[in-house]
Symmetry: C2
Subunit: 138 residues, 2 copies
């Protein structure tokens, strides 16, 4: 069976509409945490796993100098701490504090809350979506 390129395009458009237009919670997060979205993103990643500055810069897709500013701000807020890497004194390991973990969780809850139509979806369809998505994001 061959593909219907129009169908693939329509599906992609639907996915983008859902995520980017209908249920984009960025502003909610910045309002709830009172920080820019990139700071919240940094905090979420750091809460998931401690990281060096270099790794964090890669995750944020920004350069090292700006990463320093972001982490400076998070440290000032008491949400993360910077420690020297035990095996390489050049590197700093950034770790979320308990307070930082709590804050990151607030962001996760806002961003991760499934939109109403997804919650109202027919359970069989939801399971199907789950299966298909597993292959798509694999």
């Amino acid at each position: 069976m061959s593909h219907d390129p129009q169908m693939a395009a329509r599906v992609w458009r639907g996915l983008r509409t859902l995520v980017l237009e209908r249920y984009d919670r960025r502003k909610e997060v910045t309002a709830a945490l009172d920080m820019s979205f990139i700071r919240a993103k940094a905090l979420r990643h750091l809460a998931a796993a401690p990281m060096t500055m270099r790794q964090l810069a890669a995750v944020l897709a920004t350069d090292a100098p700006y990463t320093t500013l972001v982490v400076d701000d998070l440290v000032r807020r008491g949400l993360v701490v910077r420690d020297v890497h035990p095996d390489d004194r050049r590197q700093k390991i950034v770790t979320a504090t308990p307070e930082g973990e709590k804050t990151a969780e607030i962001a996760e809850r806002i961003l991760g809350e499934p939109p109403p139509p997804l919650l109202d979806l027919d359970p069989a369809d939801l399971a199907t979506l789950d299966r298909i998505l597993a292959t798509l994001v694999k």
Copy 2:
């Protein structure tokens, strides 16, 4: 049958990963059009349908003054024109020029290109996705 909230959350996370992390083409668009993403977004909407400044501001989720700057820039590039509304001389109708339509189409092609895993998807699953998405974005 009752819902599995974990499944809904997992599906939502998958959707976000796909659209926001794996196949975000914003930078491609800004590079191809040599303009900020919000300008490209304005141009795409204007190419789809002429609009007043007020309507465009709403679409862009920005305020009227900044919308003026964005449209000024698009006019300067010859991609849109501003005309007085025939029924209300206070309003301006912004319309894409033929050149603007061509440029918008480039952006649409970049953003609308379905990601590889979607093109490689089993046709039956693609059709299922199409059906489910139609209910989700309805």
